[in-house]
């Protein structure tokens, strides 16, 4: 009987956790690495190292200033 209740509760919690994780990874840009790997796999490219990938993204940020409001 407890399993009947625990099941849906657990799956809702898992869904919520996945949602939060997805959001934070997307928001912080961490997910861009996964996108890149997926893209490389789909097009048969050999991906660069993560270090190299993140370095290029950081250098790009150097050129585009981000405004923060008052």
């Amino acid at each position: 009987m407890t399993a009947d209740v625990a099941g849906p509760v657990r799956s809702a919690a898992v869904r919520a956790w996945r949602g939060v994780r997805w959001y934070l990874r997307e928001w912080s840009g961490e997910a861009r690495w996964d996108d890149y790997l997926e893209h490389c796999a789909a097009h048969g490219h050999r991906p660069v190292s993560r270090r190299e990938f993140e370095r290029r993204r950081a250098d790009e940020r150097e050129r585009t200033p981000v405004s923060r409001c008052c």
């Binding site: 959001y23 934070l24 990874r25 997307e26 928001w27 912080s28 840009g29 961490e30 861009r32 690495w33 996108d35 890149y36 997926e38 893209h39 490389c40 789909a42 097009h43 490219h45 050999r46 991906p47 660069v48 993560r50 270090r51 990938f53 993140e54 370095r55 290029r56 993204r57 950081a58 790009e60 940020r61 150097e62 050129r63 585009t64 200033p65 981000v66 405004s67 923060r68 409001c69 008052c70």
Partner: protein
């Protein structure tokens, strides 16, 4: 909440989202209930006199009003006036390069946009405006955001999106004219410098003579540097990991500040305001020339997580603590205009003191910067532009609540300048009693002891008051004997994101300066030319640093003198943005809907021009900068020293500062008048043409992606997405090219 879906690749039919349906019974019932809750809450707030009123009424009044505005008014503007069209590809889709043009999930973009627009402004302005009572501030924050602030943010976002993400200055130049364009460019730059100076002033006032605060804030620099190295060298790209470590270290830094309070280190960290100015200027300069990955980016992650965390915590704390309003609905200062926090009557000064949270011109720079290049679907401007600003307004309401639930004697002792409070609990208590608020020297001393600060007298600038309010709310909500911790936690959170805004603003100012001077001296415009970077950074830091110094040493109180200038400047920028929006509506042949931005523009112009007029021409020395100058200059000639100045040097300082402030004030107003009259010429031309005029809008290209419009996908939208994916194959919504980030061999 939006219910219409349009499909790409189909011709004909109504443009996205203009179709109407009969509302369901459930929807009618829900919205009637929301309206009733809102009406009851507003009635309680407006009619309560003398009895105890829960602060939650303010929260409910605001939330119910936001919901109705978002559901009906924002939808009307987006679908009827702007005619957002989801069959049209956005620049993110058309120009996708995986760098700045990038199709971004609407919820993620909402987070980015909100993090960019929300800062110290919505926290500080309402605290200062609380001297007029809780009602004027609440009404302006809610009504202002619904009809002005959120409208501006959404409409600017829309027009910039239709122009591949052009900046506000660029659009004014191209759509209004070269004269208006140049005036707007100068206004944007000057206003930004002033905003940076006032933000830095708030930090200085919060940290001066507070070793605990200085210790915690100073530690944020090594923490950010560590995160930067972690993300670059140790574990590249693990942002969440690095941020989690950073947040833990940050909390330790706050706790650690309490320990050093009783050691020898405390004296070394008890810094005067002048030393803090120097520290901030050096810091600002170094931060703007260092590579962004080392300091700016990690600091930005930290400050955003802290910001969102505190806002959520504050909302939860309010619901649990359910504080009672201590301030009157309307104080005597609202009627007489003699308030000690800032001078001037309710109209126009409440409306410029509360800028961010109700209407903030600065947002127009962000709505025409990075955000429009990332929007996936046109109809999402409602969620991101309008919704993002509603969220900021909610932050402003929370800040106002924190200021009006603390003891009002303490409020005035904290926010009146040192010149009138005398700086000691005894003199401050006497002054506050004179205003008609009960308090005593013991009460004031006990309040500072509770948060372990040497003194809370004349801690102007809003941040310390907000921190006291937050610490009381959290103390009552979550228990424990942590009031001093919560106070410094709140100070830290404000200082952290003000410093991030100062870093980022200095960089943006540097780019603007290099870009502008690059028009006449090519080499200077080259962003990779090191000497150019250093010179431009030094100029920007020098400009805001000197304004900051003027504010900090002002005998009349820097916040008292500069905050009105800051508020007016921000609202003047909004006037430029709303002028542009009105011009564009008319040029697009939508004269019928021009009132949507013309009415807030008219209101904003009346407010800012009245305020500017009074600050320049008023013969009351407490309000008019030049009247103040004359008063002190005359006394100086007669060899007198007028309080609160204490010697001839301070008298001269007042004369100089008032002159500078007055000239700046007149200059800002003049720039806006130039843009406005230039715009009137264009509008007249467009009306005479009896039809749309050519604009720089990009031609429509059919969209190939399907995305929901509102926060939650409706059943129809889910169905449309599924159908689309079935037709084009899986991965149709995935991101495409990585030209800049990875080799596409």
């Amino acid at each position: 909440m939006s219910t219409t879906v349009s499909r790409p690749d189909t011709e004909g039919g109504p443009p996205g989202g203009t179709g109407r349906r009969r509302p369901t019974l459930k929807s009618v019932l829900v919205w009637t209930a929301v309206a009733v809750v809102g009406a009851v809450a507003w009635t309680v707030l407006a009619l309560a006199r003398g009895e105890t009123v829960s602060a939650l009424w303010m929260l409910f009044a605001a939330l119910a009003s936001y919901a109705i505005a978002y559901r009906f008014y924002a939808r009307f503007i987006a679908h009827r006036a702007l005619r957002v069209d989801d069959r049209r590809a956005t620049p993110a889709e058309r120009l996708h390069n995986g760098v700045d043009f990038d199709v971004t999930d609407r919820r993620v973009l909402f987070g980015h946009h909100f993090a960019a627009i929300a800062g110290a402004g919505p926290l500080v302005g309402p605290v200062l405006a609380a001297q007029m009572g809780y009602l004027p501030g609440t009404i302006w924050i809610v009504v202002g955001v619904i009809f002005a602030g959120a409208v501006q943010d959404m409409v600017v976002l829309f027009f910039s999106m239709r122009r591949n993400g052009k900046s506000l200055g660029q659009m004014v130049r191209e759509e209004i004219g070269i004269v208006g364009g140049v005036a707007a460019l100068i206004a944007v730059f000057a206003i930004m410098i002033l905003i940076l100076a006032v933000l830095a002033l708030i930090v200085v006032n919060a940290l001066a003579e507070s070793p605990w605060g200085v210790f915690s804030i100073a530690l944020t620099i090594p923490i950010a540097l560590f995160m930067g190295v972690y993300l670059r060298v140790l574990r590249p790209g693990r942002v969440l990991e690095a941020t989690a470590i950073g947040v833990v270290l940050l909390l330790l830094a706050i706790v650690g500040g309490g320990w050093i309070d009783n050691t020898g280190l405390a004296d070394a960290l008890t810094l005067s305001k002048e030393w803090l100015v120097l520290a901030l200027v050096v810091y600002g300069f170094v931060a703007s020339v260092l590579p962004v990955w080392l300091l700016l980016t990690p600091r930005d992650y930290l400050s955003t997580f802290m910001k969102v965390g505190v806002i959520v915590l504050l909302a939860v704390g309010l619901l649990i603590a359910r504080p009672v309003l201590q301030a009157d609905a309307l104080t005597q200062f609202a009627r007489e205009g003699t308030g000690p926090v800032f001078a001037g009557s309710l109209f126009p000064f409440v409306f410029i003191t509360i800028a961010c949270g109700a209407l903030s011109g600065f947002h127009a720079l962000i709505s025409s910067g990075t955000t429009p290049k990332m929007v996936a679907k046109e109809s999402q401007v409602r969620l991101i532009g309008y919704g993002g600003m509603l969220m900021e307004s909610f932050v402003a309401i929370s800040a106002l609540i924190a200021a009006v639930v603390i003891d009002q004697g303490l409020y005035f002792a904290m926010n009146a300048p040192a010149g009138v409070t005398g700086g000691t609990p005894e003199t401050a208590a006497a002054f506050v009693n004179g205003l008609g608020f009960p308090t005593s020297a013991q009460d004031l001393a006990a309040a500072s002891a509770a948060v372990q600060e040497p003194s809370l007298i004349s801690r102007t600038g809003g941040a310390p008051t907000l921190a006291v309010g937050i610490s009381e709310i959290f103390h009552n909500a979550f228990g424990g004997n942590l009031q001093a911790f919560w106070y410094h936690f709140a100070i830290m959170f404000e200082a952290l994101f003000i410093l991030t805004a100062v870093d980022a603003g200095t960089r943006v100012g540097r780019f603007m300066l290099q870009d502008t001077i690059g028009n006449v001296w090519k080499k200077f415009g080259d962003l990779s030319w090191r000497p150019g970077n250093v010179i431009a950074s030094a100029v920007v830091v020098g400009l805001w640093g000197s304004m900051l110094y003027i504010g900090v040493t002002d005998p009349l109180g820097g916040v008292n003198q500069l905050f009105p200038l800051f508020g007016i400047a921000n609202q003047l920028l909004a006037a430029i943005a709303l002028t542009l929006c009105t011009v564009l509506l008319v040029k697009h042949g939508k004269l019928k809907y021009a009132w949507i931005t013309a009415v807030p523009l008219a209101w904003d112009l009346v407010v800012t021009m009245t305020a500017s007029w009074q600050k320049v021409f008023s013969d009351n020395p407490a309000i008019g900068y030049f009247a103040q100058r004359n008063r002190y200059a005359t006394a100086l000639d007669a060899g007198e020293v007028l309080a609160p100045a204490q010697d001839v040097g301070q008298m001269q300082q007042v004369v100089t500062n008032s002159t500078i402030n007055g000239v700046l004030q007149a200059f800002f107003a003049l720039l806006v008048v130039v843009v406005f009259f230039n715009a009137l010429v264009v509008i007249a031309k467009a009306i005479r043409a009896r039809g749309p005029l050519p604009t720089t809008e990009e031609p429509a290209v059919p969209s190939r992606i399907v995305e929901p419009s509102g926060l939650f996908a409706t059943a129809e939208e889910k169905q449309a997405i599924a159908e689309h994916e079935r037709l084009v194959g899986a991965g149709a919504r995935g991101r495409g090219t990585f030209t800049e980030e990875g080799p596409t061999r």
